[in-house]
């Protein structure tokens, strides 16, 4: 993985509080794409599920979103509702800001969460940075 830097790549008004990583095989998410409803409502918000349907490869989106949520859990080290940590549209940007609404993030003084996606054939890896304002 390439070196990542919050100050250089994301937002210089924040400092890193914690980081987490996760990797999953994309093929594991293929069965979820065969379902006509949100396959895991405890994990994916309805917004994410809709985004996955419009992604050129829904399994890639579901895999990336799951990696983000797992990586955030590893960084936060506290249980939270995965469906309240939302990956928006996957773009060409290096960093994606995750939208979170679970109160646990406020309690932990987390203001922003950045995710760096590494998409490779067959697998997706994610590194997340949990940050607070100076």
């Amino acid at each position: 993985m390439e070196t990542i830097s919050l100050t250089l790549n994301c937002d210089s008004s924040c400092k890193i509080v914690a980081c987490g990583i996760d990797t999953e095989s994309i093929s594991r998410f293929l069965p979820f794409c065969r379902q006509s409803i949100n396959p895991m409502p405890m994990v994916y918000s309805s917004y994410e599920y809709r985004l996955s349907l419009h992604h050129k490869n829904p399994a890639v989106f579901l895999c990336a979103a799951f990696c983000c949520k797992e990586a955030v859990f590893k960084a936060l080290q506290k249980p939270y509702n995965f469906n309240t940590c939302v990956l928006g549209e996957i773009t060409e940007n290096k960093y994606h800001q995750l939208q979170v609404s679970d109160p646990v993030f406020k309690e932990a003084n987390i203001d922003k969460i950045f995710a760096r996606l590494f998409l490779a054939p067959g697998e997706c890896s994610v590194c997340v940075l949990l940050a607070c304002k100076h």
């Binding site: 409502p41 797992e70 506290k78 249980p79 939270y80 679970d102």
Partner: protein
């Protein structure tokens, strides 16, 4: 929440055994209550979450992942037997599982 009868318990046990047998491509006869999900079956959180989603759908539960996470931090589910106990607890108590000493 579902009334916990011996029939429901039996169904949950069968569901958990069949799920891990299928997911991990292992003969169901080679799985016991003492089988460790990570060490023996190379299972992971995605597998457990997927199973719990199936349980949630089958029994019409609205349990939150945060509640399950808090419970698992107190009482980890590392073996098949522990996952069965967790699943029975969720089906019987829903989100109230966090207040129950299983």
């Amino acid at each position: 929440m579902t009334e916990m009868t011996s029939e429901v318990k039996k169904n949950i046990r069968t569901m958990v055994y069949e799920y891990f047998s299928g997911e991990c491509d292992i003969d169901i006869k080679d799985i016991t209550d003492a089988t460790n999900i990570i060490e023996d079956l190379e299972g992971d959180s995605l597998m457990l979450l997927s199973l719990l989603e199936q349980v949630r759908k089958k029994y019409g539960l609205s349990v939150e992942l945060k509640t399950l996470g808090k419970h698992l931090m107190k009482k980890p589910a590392e073996t098949i037997g522990q996952v069965i106990a967790l699943t029975i607890g969720i089906v019987e108590h829903g989100d109230n599982i966090i207040n129950i000493e299983l």
